[in-house]
Amino acid sequence: MEAILLQILNGLDKGTAYALIALGLTLVFGTLGVVNFAHGALFMMGAFVAVGVQNLLTISARVRDTSITFFDAYKETPYLELWWGDVGRTIIDYAVPISVIVAIPVMLLVGLAMERGLIRHFYKRDHADQILVTFGLAIVLQEIVKGFFGANPIPVNAPQVVATSVDIGSLFGLEGITYPWWRLIYLGFSLAVIGGVFAFLHFTTFGMVVRAGMHDREMVGLLGINIQNRFTIVFGLAAVVAGLAGTMYTPILSPDYHMGMEFLVLSFVVVVVGGMGSLPGAVAAGFLLGILQSFFSMNEIKAYLPGIDQIIVYLVAVIILLVRPKGLLGKD
């Protein structure tokens, strides 16, 4: 029982991670008609915003460790800590929440620059050209990050108060259900972001125009609305959502320059299983695949189907696509 509850939580958690990345991908495809292979790189850049903020906050006074004579080794104490003591320490501790605030404008700028500078010129080109150019862009962005931060994963900590787990079982009168605070926060945050995106698209005029554009681009253009600028903003929005997902994920997954590529394939699968261009579909598929992946990793199931956890995501994708031609919630 506890095991199943825990796996559901795991699944939801994974699901939100997939859904957040997939959301932007499907939004961009649905509105701009662009297959963006650089979307994973946006997720990665969001994560490195957190690394950058942490590095900035921890600029340190360095005291030479004199016991080491062969090279310069330092005991580092961040200036913030030196200047403001506990307050400084707390600020550093809250590096990730601070990064979230920083990530929004940074990722928006990145997104806008990317759309204006490159993507916009590829709306009318073949998908093949789009794939090559965005793949090239992803590699370039990745290598630039590698140049600055190296290839190793870099640890980013959640604030102390939420760095461990909480006994949520006691809430429901069950025993032994502890779950990391940060994962619960991540879940809540992601649901809020997803909700925010939906609200934005459904309850604002801007959003309605965008949704109309997803259905019929020419028609909206004929109405005399400058859909181009709106699409630029949509791309920026997608970049922000992917970036925030990356920033918030850092305490769970130490970021490295390669992480975007690893999420790219999975998020494409999520998008397509959900139905290309369908936002609710992307979210639903994210949760579905996340939960199934968690369940099929259980020893009880693996005992009968060895290796099933290796392929479950793809297997489900195949079954869904064969049964439903346009994915879960895709429109014909």
């Binding site: 090279f71 640890p155 956890d309 290796q310």
Partner: protein, 447 residues
């Protein structure tokens, strides 16, 4: 199949790349080389001798590869008599003279393995076929090491393995032309066992999470055997997909499994992520069976420990070498490396540096670059002064036997590099084993 085939079949199956290498120089006709009786592949004719350093330059292990490359360059410098000489000052016995190898200046070529067998082999072949490398070294995964090792056997050059920890490299996949200085999973288990008994007692229940591929399996087996010999029980061994990223679905079952030790048979990013996440799930704060829950990572590396941040503190594991060792050889190496690059070398850098020197020294001992001579010189070679105390290259499987370090993530690091504290230097006698237990055969020298 014709009679002709029978006739030629046995004759023509010669050394793998030889034909190509010889013709590479002539670069044209598809001739089958008739080999001159005394020649060997890439025999250095000029004033230089070329070594090939094949390391991951892209992909998740790129930093480790970069560190290996630094060590190689340093080794080349020292061999050529530049710099402060490093371990040339401490190695015993020493045949090197600081004038290159056998009087020829050492030059090197580099390549990118991408941590993929195919890419690593392609890169090694380039070094052998195009650049005329006599020896290949490097690598940071067992799959790559084994793939390149068998290539070198076929090509008739020497392979001095870099970071590879699987039992198979000098076990069932050992080769006459391949040599490993790094320790292996079996040694990790043997070294860790006494420390585990001391620290955690002999009545423990272990839960393994294992990367689902060859290296993970051999480590799981070795650690399982070693801990069960102590009296520990194994609750479960669970395989996880390589590069899973989020391990939550594998960690939550541990919580209520009744296990009180979690053993992570992961390396690199998998290790970083699974360890961080296990700590977040509060495993280390738990009391199970009246004991404090512990996590253990049998194979540690400082570079990867950096990625795990605070999660590494207090975690036990084993490592081949650490820069904080105070023996003469380690000090000499750390000093040279630190002076050159401004930070301490990793264990991967250490093993690559040592391997290069050992190869060069063997050439000097043999008085030839001929791989058969070099192999003979290396087999059973006993040396000291290169860290890890007195060491022997065992002739039976080309595995180095030396002290193994049991380390713990440092609770109070005095500097940014001070991540691991050495708990115990387990003497070589404790980690030795009978070469027969892993099977495999070396084959014969191919030159």
């Amino acid at each position: 199949m014709s009679d002709d085939d029978k006739k030629f079949g046995t004759l023509s199956r010669r050394g793998f790349l030889k034909a190509s290498i010889a013709t590479a120089a002539a670069a044209a006709a598809p001739t089958i080389l008739i080999r001159n009786a005394h020649a060997f592949v890439n025999e250095p004719k000029g004033a230089t001798v070329t070594l090939g350093f094949n390391v991951p330059q892209t992909g998740p292990y790129a930093d480790e590869g970069a560190d290996e490359l630094r060590a190689f360059k340093l080794a080349v410098k020292h061999l050529n008599g530049e710099g402060n000489g490093g371990m040339l000052n401490t190695m015993k016995p020493l045949s090197l003279k600081g004038n290159g190898i056998l009087g020829k200046k050492v030059v090197y070529v580099t390549g990118d393995t991408q941590t993929k067998s195919d890419a690593a082999r392609a890169s090694a072949k380039r070094m052998i076929e195009k650049d005329g490398a006599l020896m290949i070294s490097g690598g940071s995964s067992s799959g790559v090491a084994i793939a390149v090792q068998s290539l070198c056997q076929e090509a008739g050059v020497i392979f001095m393995a870099g970071l590879t920890h699987s039992n198979d490299t000098t076990g069932k996949d050992k080769r006459k032309h391949g040599f490993r200085h790094f320790f292996n999973a079996y040694m990790s288990g043997q070294a860790l066992a006494p420390v585990l008994a001391e620290e955690y007692g002999t009545d423990r229940r272990a839960y393994h999470l294992t990367a689902d591929y060859t290296w993970g399996w051999t480590q799981e087996e070795s650690i399982k055997n070693a801990t069960e010999a102590l009296g520990w029980k194994t609750v479960a061994t669970v395989r996880t997909p390589l590069g899973a990223g989020d391990f939550s679905q594998y960690i939550t079952p541990v919580l209520n499994s009744g296990a009180d030790v979690l053993i992570l048979n992961h390396y690199g990013k998998d290790m970083v992520n699974s360890l961080i996440q296990a700590v977040q799930f509060g495993l280390r704060d738990k009391m199970v069976n009246g004991k404090k829950f512990e996590i253990m990572v049998p194979l540690f590396s400082r570079l990867m420990a950096q990625g795990a941040g605070d999660a590494i503190k207090g975690i036990l594991g084993s490592t081949n070498w650490n820069w904080s060792l105070t023996d003469e050889g380690s000090q000499a190496f750390v000093k040279s490396f630190g002076a050159e690059y401004g930070f301490p070398p990793s264990q991967a850098a250490h093993t690559c540096y040592v391997q290069t020197l050992l190869y060069a020294n063997a050439c000097e001992m043999a008085g030839t670059f001929n791989p058969c001579g070099v192999i003979e010189a290396l087999e059973g070679f006993k040396f000291d002064g290169m860290g890890n105390g007195p060491t022997e290259y065992r002739a039976a499987d080309h595995q180095c036997f030396k002290n193994v370090l049991v380390v713990r993530g440092n609770q109070n690091p005095t500097s940014q590099f001070d991540l691991l504290e050495v708990v115990k230097e387990v003497p070589r006698s404790q980690v030795a084993y009978d070469p027969k237990i892993f099977g495999g055969e070396l084959g014969s020298c191919n030159a």
